[in-house]
Every structure is written in C-alpha cells, then in structure tokens.
Point group: C2
DNA sequence: ATCATTAGTCCAATGGTGAAAATAATAGGA
DNA sequence: TCCTATTATTTTCACCATTGGACTAATGAT
C-alpha cells in the first residue's frame, strides 16, 4: 500500500478534479465540490493552480442555474497540452496529435513494409512525427510525450516490448530508443489495452468501471478495465483471449493446444480455412459467399461467431463486467457481426438479475482508438495520473 | 476517485502500518518506517495509538541487529480483538472464533438439515454462537463482529444474499437479520471469495497480488484476488467459472448451455454419470474404480480433470495471475488430483518467460478456509480495511 | 429595493506528517 | 571502564493541505 502524505493527498485531489473536468467540462467549481465532497476552497485552489499552469480556462459562459449567482464554468485549455499517439502494426503505422480532450488534431496513416527492421521503423516513426509537426505547425513545446500502442506483450512500466509476433520483436527497449531519437517522453502499451483506455475515457465505456474490450481482425485479443483502471496482470499479458480454449476437440493451434479461439475468428484463419474449399483472396469474399448462401461459408463464419460468443460468455462469467465492447477490423468492416454475436451471447448469460445493466457496445473510436488511447496514455503519464 | 483529506490520509497510513504488522509481526517501528517510506515519527505515533487501543503490544524481545540500539518489536495483542467466522453450507455449518492473527481459538462443526428454513437457520446460528462463546468463556466485549461465507451470490456491501441455490435462498437480508438477532456486526460474502481472502492473508498466497482460487467439490467456482483485493465484479458474481464453457459439444447444463465446467467436475455430476454405469454411492468408489483400472472411471475422471485444466488455462490466459490455488472437497480428499491437474496445465501455458514466477498451490487452510476468511472479513470491516 | 439563494474567495484554525534534534541503547574498541 | 560509532525511538517544531465560517458577488423573486 502506498504512503500517504500531504503531497500525495494534494496530487490525488488534483487528479480527481482534473479527471472530472476532463470528463464533464465545462463545469463549475461548485459542481466539482459537490461531486467530490471537497470543500469549495480546495477546489478553487486546485483549479487556480491548474489554470496558472495553463491547462484550464474560465470559459466566458455561465451556467443556467435556477436560482442564485451563476457559476463560472471551467474548461480545458485546448492546445495547452498535446501528445502524440501512435499505432504500430505489422502492415501500417498510424499517428495522430491529440489535444487535452482527446481530439485528433491532425493525423497520418501510412503502410509499413512487412519486413522492416527495428532501426528502420524507429527512423520512420521519427520522420513521421517530424513531418506531422512541421506540416501542421505544431508548437513543439506543447507536446508532452509520445504514446505507442502495438500488438504484443509490453512492459508498460519500463516501456519495453517483451514480445511481438506481428512486429517480429523480442525484448526491444522501445521507449528508451525512441526517447533518445526524439527527445520526447515515450509510453508504450499493448494496442488493445490502450484502445480500452480510450473507449473508457472517450468512447463507448465512459462511466463504466468494469469493461472488457475485445478486438478481432488479424488477431484476436482482449483488454480489461477493472475498477476504472487498465488491468495488466502479473507479466503484462492479461487478456490473452486468443489462446483461450473454446473447443477441446477443435483444430490445433500453433501454440500446441487444440481449439484456441484464435484458430477460428481471425481473418488469417478464416481465409486459410476458406482456401481449403476454393481459392479466395479477401475476407470480403468469404462474407459474400455466406451472403450468397454457400454452405461452407455459412458454417465457417457461424462457427467463428459461436466460438466468439463462448469466449465472451466465459469472460463475462469470470469478470462480471458491466459492459463488453466489440472492436477490430472484423466488426468494423462487417457491422452485422456485432448483432450476431450479441444475439448468441444474450441467450447465454444466466440469471436475469445478475445481468444488471450489462450492455454490449460497439467500439466508438474504431479506426483511431489505438492512436487516441496511446496519446491519452502519454498525457496521463505526464500528469502522473 | 475518493476524496483525500487528512482523516483519510491518517486512516490509510494506519491501514498500511497495521497491515504490515499483521503480516510480519513481530517487527520493529524502524523496519516499518523503512518499508513504507513513512517517517519514524509517524510510525511511532500510529503504533502508539494502536497500542493505546489495545491492539498491539511491545514484545520484550529485541531484534538481533548488527550494530546500534536494538529495536523493540511490536506484536499483535492476541485476544484483544476476536471475531466469529461462519461457513454455511447445504449440509453443514462450521463456526470458529478467531484472534487477530487469524488463529482459530475454538470451533464447532455441525450438520445442517437439508431442508432447514431461513428462520430455523438463523436460530441455529445464534444458538451455536451462544454455545461456543459460553463454553469457551469468550469475552463478548472483545468480539467485533461475525463474518459469514456461503455458496451463492452475495451483495457484500449490504450483506444480503442475492441468490443461493444450495441454501435455497433468494434476496435474504442476512446481515440485517443476524445483527438483529445477535447484536453483532455481520459481514457476508461468497464462500470462495472469503476463502481466497484467507489464503491471501494467511495461507498459500501470502504476498501474492494476483491470485485465482478454485474450489471444487459439490460445486465448482473461483475467486480472484486482483491487486491484493478480492475482486467482486459488477453484480458480485465474478468468478462463476462453473458456467464457463469447456466443451461446446458437451453435455447440457441445467443453465441451458452445453459443456459448462460444472457439468463435469462436481461430485454430483461425477456420481450421476457413474450411476449410469453401475450403482454407486460415494465419490470414493469412483476413484477406487479408477484406481482398479475400470475404463469408465478412468475416462470419467480424466475427462473432468482435462476440462478443469482447460478452465484453468483459460483463466490464466485472461487474468495472468502469479498463482493459482486449488481447494475444495475434491482436492482435499484426493490429493493426487492436484498434481494431475498441474501436469495437464503446465503443458498449456504458452511462452516460458510469460510464466514468470507462476506457481500452483494447494489450499493451506482447506477445511477451515472459509471460517477463517469470514472471520478476517469481519475484522477487516471493523478496522475499516 | 430587499430578500433568499447560490458561487466563489479570504482567513484563521486544525491537525497529520516530516525534518531535525535529542535521547536511548548497544557493540566494539582503546 | 570509557569512549565512539551506529542504530532505534521520541520529542519538538514547522509546514501546509484542508476545512469551516465569514464575507463578497451575482442573480431571480417578491
């Protein structure tokens, strides 16, 4: 447990106040005081300090209260703090510059040669940042850091990539290297974990305290928000739903086990299965074949969705979240998937009262979720949140 | 996020100091200061207050330090605080009185008529407490409360039993009723959650921050310790591993799904399956039959253990704990099960470095785990931990 | 205009914590 | 034995975040 002294107390209170403003801005001091239970004095002081630092502004507007003096609303000083969010994938790299609200000010997405080596990737990242900053005349002094989300297992604390099949990396001190190169502070995390963070703060799961985000496309994975925090697990590999068994008599996975979820629901596996029937290039063709009533395609995709539902059911049983978010290339490109999975699941969850206010969500930030999450991660690091 | 003021700060610091003493007693003030980073002044004050309140004592002994003044060790004042822990099950009720260290001072276990109704159960609990207290001349003023662990879904906050198949209860305000009856504060929780708490504080998972406890016997379930806290989930039903699917083509579960874990590994299901071969009364006979090489028994139990391993694998993938604890009637009565499951699992966990220091544990508190956990729960409530 | 009501600021009091100094205890020499 | 270096604990005191209450500001209702 952490040591509590006055400094820590102050920091915590600043966190809560800042957090509330980020979520509910513009908002009055009085409202913050009411919500937090802090005295108006304290709220005033904190807001004052943050204003002094340039992060907040008193907006001209006043709240339309029923009675009494109107409150002056506090808002975020956009542009006062910027951060760079990067999504790094096998085949592409997305980059965006975010403001305090998590808005993407400007962005860029470019392909990444599949076999690009580490040094080259680092160079390219540096160049991409340089270009974006210059092209959009970004004030460098406002940029507080870089966040990177990537597929694989990441040591968020140290900013090292432990292992990434997709990028072909193993024990890469990414944060360290990129900090040397760019001079900015660098935070690194798994792509789904930052995506979950983004959806939690700005997207589908605002206000939720226990959410599971599933991502499926080229791979399949998940990330958990527990008690409002990203849950990382003992070795930073929590959420590995892809190697969860959904059918003990199923197909062999490359990991040596039978019936791992990732054997069924990833684009790669769907395509490879489809190609045993007839030559097929893209996942769209598979869905078209299904639409056209071709048996094999119906079976292939139904099976995948069935197994996905099983995995979700298992997850919900274990974690009892208040919401599940579906995201990734597959649900993005085939929105119908969402309802199909939801329908399969809802017949599963056991007892009515236990569902509580459980909800399925579709990712709201989809394509830019990882970039936004990475950028927010970096901001949070800066603010010691 | 919580409001931080001086009171809260003080409370938190007291919690950490008290927590350390509970785990590492006897220990010196200086050592506590070093561990927590607090100033010696603060530690001294807190220890002083807790001593004043009678919870701590200075033991006469001094530490064998290398050089300098020896430290006076602080220990728990046993008997200063007592609590009553109760395990309530379909067929029996266990009760114990615990001291601060979590030692069971005295205890009692008695059968519970299967169809006993709520009022009768309440009366019996009251009587059992009365008897135990009187018989062992327990100082009533020292008892700070009662903790109860039971199978089913419990609203730990309000102390209500939402649903318990085994006890036949639904929406029973247990804490409220029992407080009326006994006058003591009452805390209620799911049996496996308190058992996990007990193992975390006093048993196999001391020092672990992320543990999963599995319990299997008449039912099967699990409980999670995340970041050192019992994880309860949105509707208090986290850990429902019994309705996790382990084989989509498996047997129908009473919940309507196919292949739930509880269809395979519970004593009840094993017996019912066994009886389709030949009349069998007890689970021992099944294991004996297996020992004797009878095919059906080998298959039945192997299948159960295989599925158990799958469920554990799934759990470990999702939650990446540093340890898993096996507990319950089955592993207690057939210790070999433990190694068999472990062997099946260890071939599963994917990548060596990710295992970290992962360990399998056998429950150390076995039969009294729930009683101890319940008692500790009650104490923690009292100390506002 | 006056009053009731709400927002926000100013000021003094409270009280937990930390730093430093004082005191205590101890081992190892000289 | 006495002195010194070292570590443990207590004492003293200053610091400062928070709070409560007094006060000012603003606004709608009467």
């Amino acid at each position: 447990m952490k040591k509590h002294d006055q400094d820590y107390m102050k920091l915590q209170n600043r966190r809560t106040v800042f957090g509330i403003i980020k979520q509910q801005h513009p908002i009055s001091r009085a409202a913050i005081a009411k919500q937090t239970g802090m005295s108006p004095t304290t709220v005033s002081r904190i807001v004052g300090e943050l204003t002094e630092l340039g992060y907040l502004v008193e907006s001209e507007q006043v709240a339309a209260a029923g009675l009494g003096r109107k409150s002056t609303l506090i808002g975020l000083a956009d542009g006062s703090v910027l951060s760079i969010g990067i999504e790094l994938d096998r085949h592409f790299m997305s980059i965006g510059i975010l403001d305090l609200q998590g808005n993407v000010i400007c962005s860029d997405k470019r392909v990444r040669p599949a076999e690009e080596d580490l040094e080259e990737t680092l160079r390219r990242i540096g160049a991409a940042i340089e270009e974006l900053v210059r092209h959009h005349a970004i004030d460098r002094t406002r940029v507080v850091g870089i966040g990177i989300g990537l597929p694989g297992i990441v040591n968020n604390d140290k900013g090292g990539v432990v292992f990434s099949v997709q990028l072909g990396w193993k024990n890469v001190p990414l944060a360290e290297r990129l900090k040397e190169l760019t001079g900015y502070e660098v935070a690194v995390d798994n792509e789904l974990k930052v995506r979950a963070l983004a959806e939690h703060l700005k997207g589908a799961a605002i206000g939720s305290r226990r959410t599971a985000l599933l991502g499926f496309g080229n791979g399949v994975g998940s990330a958990l928000i527990l008690e409002g925090e990203v849950y990382r697990g003992d070795m930073n590999s929590a959420g590995e739903i892809g190697h969860t068994t959904v059918d003990p008599n199923g197909m062999m996975c490359e990991c040596g086990k039978a019936g791992c979820l990732q054997t069924y629901i990833t684009i790669r596996s769907l395509l490879s299965e489809a190609n045993q029937i007839r030559p097929i290039q893209t996942i769209e063709e598979v869905f078209e074949a299904r639409q056209a009533g071709e048996r094999w395609a119906i079976h292939l995709i139904d099976r995948a969705l069935d197994y996905m539902a099983i995995a979700i059911n298992n997850l919900v049983c274990m974690y009892n979240p208040d919401s599940v978010i579906l995201s990734g290339e597959l649900p993005d490109r085939f929105p119908g998937i969402h309802e199909e999975i939801e329908a399969r699941c809802s017949s599963h969850f056991v007892w009515e009262p236990l569902r509580g206010s459980f909800r399925f969500h579709h990712s709201e930030l989809s394509e830019w979720g990882v970039v936004i999450g990475s950028g927010l991660l970096s901001q949070n690091r800066f603010f010691q949140l």
